[in-house]
């Protein structure tokens, strides 16, 4: 499935599309996957002693029987409320449990794992809450996609009180400190979410520089944070909002950028939205010789699960290889000289299980496809069904 022009984009971020980001996420996954012993309020020496009694489990495994948030083994959070933003988008406010780090930067995303029908499904969403010194909640804003069952579940099916899993905030799509004097944001659809966190932070800290935001949505009703954005524009003369409704105005045409933002050449640009918008922006700034000024955050349509084979990156060993749809990920890895864990080679002993950071694979025994982020797969019976990043 390819990205459909306009707004039919999935809000999940294909972090794996850029090499550095993939490794960054792999880093998170490594910490999250091992038996995490993050510093928790109880203090390290006490936890160590308590652990002597609870071995082979952690004190957390018993404490979470009292309060589900009292565990740092896996980061978790409790859904406090789900606030409707538009017809098909909502902000999910989460209270994180022990071990979460609030020192994130606006523009970063957080991984969220939701238990649907017994299985944990992972996606990443931009944090829309600005980081604060004293903070008990975080928020993500999710747009339900017609084919994205997890996003629909988050918007419509998530009850307050639900316990979700979290991954630490990550991402390179952030503003420098102090922010540049002149800024241009180009966003579309739910691409506004990381920028909203930036705007809220700039506003809160009263450091709003000269900002132009060009934001597109299909119709007025589908513009996320519309009231808040207009409020900001009214209150602060240095913030200029250019709102476009693509069903009426059409998509952004960068060749006419001079008309709406004549000084765009002087501005540092942060752009987030569907693939096509970002590709257009990239070629526009490149042809102006200003690609240094452009910062992108890519969205993607759902993982391509109809593909046979794909480009596989073994993130820990740093090897990359193109493989066909019949070669198992184990064989391919071994051929590259990677020390892959293996056992029965027939799918029964699970020795070969590794974490797939992102991507799509097919089980060669029954053709079943698995895609997503932070998912464990058996390499001896699976082949690539699209591009994948494995933590091995």
């Amino acid at each position: 499935m390819s990205a459909v022009p306009g707004f039919d984009i999935s809000p999940q971020r294909l972090v794996a599309s850029t090499a550095s980001a993939a490794l960054a996420l792999a880093g998170v996954a490594v910490t999250a996957g091992r038996r995490a012993r993050r510093s928790a309020p109880a203090g390290k020496p006490l936890r160590g002693t308590a652990g002597r009694f609870t071995t082979p489990l952690l004190p957390d495994d018993y404490l979470q029987l009292i309060n589900p948030l009292w565990s740092a083994r896996e980061l978790r959070g409790r859904v406090e409320r789900v606030e409707r933003e538009t017809d098909d988008a909502a902000t999910v406010v989460i209270r994180p449990g022990w071990g979460f780090s609030y020192t994130y930067q606006p523009g970063q995303y957080v991984g969220i794992g939701v238990n649907v029908d017994g299985r944990f499904h992972w996606r990443s969403y931009s944090l829309t809450s600005p980081p604060k010194r004293v903070q008990k909640h975080i928020a993500i804003t999710v747009k339900a996609m017609p084919e994205g069952f997890l996003s629909s579940h988050l918007v419509r099916g998530l009850a307050p009180g639900t316990i979700v899993r979290l991954a630490l905030p990550q991402g390179e799509f952030v503003l420098p400190n102090p922010p540049p004097e002149k800024l241009l944001f180009v966003t579309a659809g739910s691409g506004i979410t990381p920028v909203m966190a930036m705007l809220r932070t700039l506003d809160r800290r009263r450091t709003m520089p000269d900002v132009v935001l060009i934001h597109s949505a299909p119709t007025e009703a589908e513009v996320l944070f519309r009231t808040e954005l207009h409020g900001l524009a009214k209150g602060q003369s240095q913030f200029n909002l250019i709102e476009r409704h693509t069903t009426k105005d059409g998509r952004v045409d960068f060749s006419k950028l001079d008309e709406v933002c004549p000084d765009w050449r002087d501005r540092q640009v942060w752009a987030c939205g569907p693939e096509r918008l970002l590709n257009d922006a990239e070629s526009h700034w490149k042809s102006a010789g200003l690609d240094e000024a452009l910062h992108l955050e890519r969205f993607t349509a759902s993982f391509n699960t109809s593909a046979e084979g794909g480009h596989v990156k073994y993130a820990v060993s740093g090897k990359e290889v193109d493989i066909d749809g019949a070669t198992t990920l184990l064989e391919a890895g071994e051929k590259e000289g990677i020390n892959m864990p293996f056992g029965c080679r027939m799918g029964i002993c699970h020795t070969c299980t590794v974490r797939m950071v992102s991507g799509a694979v097919r089980d060669l025994r029954n053709g079943q496809e698995t895609s997503g982020e932070n998912t464990n797969i058996q390499t001896c019976v699976t082949a690539a069904a699209g591009d994948c990043v494995l933590e091995v």
Partner: protein, 383 residues
């Protein structure tokens, strides 16, 4: 005699074995596709129950000097350890719950409440035992390198002590299991890699320190003046778990009629033949629902060997189908009572302490696996 070609032994044609294999594959797919919230709720409930029971036992044992508290605490602790080892630990480490994609209940991260490190268990059990099930010289679970279980195993004078080693193994089961992945047979033959052995011993040492520290030092100390009574309670609970685990494991593989194989069987073995070997190499026992849970549903050993990574509590449901397939193809399906199977096992252990043919009465020689008859319908079709 050990079997070298399971297909020939079972009087089945290549096409029939393939057909049978496809049927077993279909059951796997059906169960995998149906896994969902209900299954996840089962294992989560079981884990919560086990942890509460363990916590309650530890608290009760603060009063361990008071005999009723000792009995109650010890019983709860023993049951909690049994549930943790068999229904939870053993099954989670098999990957039965990996489909939930929850790193907290996952084969790659689970560590269990026994002396053997999880990593070594997964190698010796999930890989070696479950892949090379009942193949002489490959499956170290046929007697665990200590006992002589099959007539096809070479007799050594040490086997005269078979019944004694059996008693010791039952009592000290978790210590025996701790050493299992070292592969005693390989050490005896001098084939074991020294560096690997050192690494494994170190890993076992670390685990033992933690386990012994917890049960025989820290918790007794925590109960202050009741140090001794808590210590005996913990030791008794561990003994309970040892005896029960031993019992379940022995009756699953050593009753009469269970078949052993030679290495030739492994050559070009098809998936269908692999399934057949799993069925012929295992035995089920009947019991109450509680017995099945306490046995981690290993009472459905045939189903466990066919599908070691499908959730255990689905085995009764799977058994209805597998039993029917076995009947259809005339494949023996061993099902008996727990005491009956143990008696057969014990008898075999005693008989195997002397060399073949050396028993005073020929009739006492161990029974060969039953040669089973094909159903008449099949024979007629062939004729």
């Amino acid at each position: 005699m050990a079997v070298s070609d399971v297909k020939e032994y079972a009087h089945l044609t290549e096409a029939q074995v393939e057909e049978l294999g496809a049927k077993f594959d279909a059951i796997r797919k059906e169960i995998q596709d149906s896994l969902g919230a209900k299954d996840a709720a089962y294992i989560r409930k079981m884990i919560t129950l086990q942890r509460r029971l363990l916590a309650a036992a530890r608290v009760t044992l603060f009063a361990s000097a008071f005999p009723p508290a000792w009995v109650a605490g010890t019983t709860m602790l023993g049951v909690a350890k049994i549930l943790e080892n068999i229904e939870i630990g053993h099954n989670v480490m098999h990957g039965q719950w990996d489909w939930m994609n929850d790193p907290e209940i996952h084969s790659s991260s689970w560590e269990w409440d026994t002396m053997q490190p999880a990593e070594q268990w997964k190698h010796s059990h999930n890989y070696i035992h479950h892949t090379f099930t009942n193949v002489l010289g490959r499956d170290n679970d046929i007697g665990y390198g200590i006992l002589r279980i099959s007539r096809d195993q070479k007799w050594r004078p040490s086997h005269l002590g078979n019944p004694i080693w059996n008693l010791l193994l039952a009592t000290l089961f978790e210590w025996g299991v701790a050493l299992h992945d070292l592969d005693l047979e390989a050490i005896r033959k001098g084939e074991k890699d020294k560096k690997l052995l050192r690494g494994q011993l170190k890993q076992i040492g670390r685990k033992i320190r933690k386990q012994v520290g917890k049960d025989y030092l820290l918790f007794p100390l925590l109960t202050g003046p009741n140090f001794l009574t808590t210590l005996t309670a913990n030791a008794t609970a561990n003994l309970m778990r040892n005896l029960w685990s031993y019992l379940v494991i022995f009756v699953d593989h050593f009753p009469d009629g269970v078949t052993y194989f030679t290495k030739e069987e492994l050559e070009d073995e098809t998936q269908g033949e692999w399934y057949l070997r799993q069925i012929l190499g295992s035995a089920n026992f009947r019991g109450h629902q509680t017995t099945h849970v306490m046995a981690g549903y290993l009472s459905y050993q045939i189903e466990h060997h066919l599908y070691p990574d499908l959730p255990s509590y689905r085995y009764p449901e799977i058994a209805k189908q597998t039993k029917a397939i076995c009947e259809e193809y005339g494949v023996p399906y061993i099902l008996g009572s727990l005491p009956g199977h143990y008696w057969q096992t014990f008898r075999t252990i005693c008989k195997m302490s002397v060399p073949n043919g050396k028993l005073w009465n020929k009739d006492l020689d161990p029974i060969d696996p039953v040669r089973f008859e094909r159903p008449e319908r099949e024979l007629a079709a062939v004729a």
